[in-house]
Symmetry: C2
Subunit: 197 residues, 2 copies
DNA sequence: TGTAAAATATTGACACCGCCAATATAAACC
DNA sequence: GGTTTATATTGGCGGTGTCAATATTTTACA
């Protein structure tokens, strides 16, 4: 028998929302459809989310958490700084390719005061890369320089590959190359070794 | 007196749509509001656009055209390849900061068969950068190597800075630096000179 | 020039949406 | 046990994309 109180509606809604998002994009994600799939009334979600944007922010936050897990795992399986940077960036891009609609939500402008935990989890993701660069510098595998600027240069490159890969998913970003790792490897090598003659 | 036939409704709608998009984001862009502002009935837009997506694709296409103009102009005002790359990337990022919602539409996945002219204009934008790299190689200011891969590495970096700047507009991507050009200059130098020790 | 055809715009409708208000039910607390 | 609080429901409002049918204007051709 159906109980009046769902028990764990917030989590159930988030799971459903993430599914809807992955299946048909953000335009197909509606509070009413979420409620219907969860077997509750069309207004039940408003007990757990202030509005639709709050749902999107929660999905984005969860995305940063999952991204951090994958990037951290990838880093731990590589030895040199160069290989770690390739591994981390590959994980970043693969995550984007596996969750394109979620990643789009992750990099939308949100009100920081409304969603402080979102900012927190996004900064945690970036911090993984920062530590990588810092250790690389200490190991003398990277040039000494402003760690933060170097981190953001690498981040920008990985993020650019990720977002462009999403936009041009059908035709590979780098024709001829097959895997994400090969593609990323080329770009990270460019960044580490430089393009100037 | 108001005429039954508008005369140039398609262009008028596109102008209005671009305004609505810039003002309040894609969620505030509705066919009905466009029609209302243009002074036509709520179904008149369907004479000129198959559906809402077609409007978004048209806005994206126009965006690539404007981007090309600005990037080309920036390139022509710089001398060395390094300065041209900085100028082009700065123009790219500034365009993104000036038209954030439009840029988001420009880098969504579209059906290539539905919007062939959109693909065309986007490739034209990328070609500007490709030519820049190729000439840089010929002038021996860039290393010899796969021109396409190098182009896309630079593109990815510029695009990453652009999209991250949009997402984190409020707090500058690079605290301490002020202008976009300074920020970009740092990153392009990273890419040209390399980060490996 | 007159008329048929095509292009353009309108009215009306439907299902869906986010969100608000009022109400009902269940749980928690003392 | 009774009150307070959290949770969920019903009902409704204005807005949205899109379809169908209709009306008007322009174009094209005889």
């Amino acid at each position: 028998m159906a109980q009046y109180h769902h028990g764990n509606l917030r989590n159930a809604l988030l799971t459903i929302a993430t599914e809807l998002l992955a299946e048909d994009g953000v335009h197909a994600l509606s509070l009413r459809k979420m409620a219907q799939r969860a077997g509750v009334s069309h207004n039940a979600p408003y007990m757990h989310f202030a509005d639709k944007e709050a749902v999107l922010a929660a999905i984005a936050e969860e995305g940063f958490r999952e991204l951090s897990v994958e990037v951290e795992s990838a880093i731990s399986q590589a030895s040199t700084t160069r290989l770690q940077l390739i591994a981390a960036s590959t994980a970043y891009v693969n995550f984007a390719l596996n969750h394109p609609n979620q990643v789009k939500l992750m990099f939308c402008p949100y009100d920081e005061e409304k969603y402080p935990s979102l900012i927190e989890s996004s900064q945690a993701s970036l911090h993984l890369l920062f530590d990588l660069v810092k250790i690389g510098q200490e190991k003398r595998e990277l040039i000494s320089g402003n760690t933060q600027e170097m981190t953001k240069a690498i981040w920008a490159m990985a993020h650019g590959v990720a977002t462009l890969s999403i936009a041009y998913k059908t035709n590979n970003l780098l024709p001829g190359k097959i895997s994400t790792e090969e593609t990323i490897s080329v770009f990270i090598d460019c960044l580490l070794d430089g393009l100037a003659a």
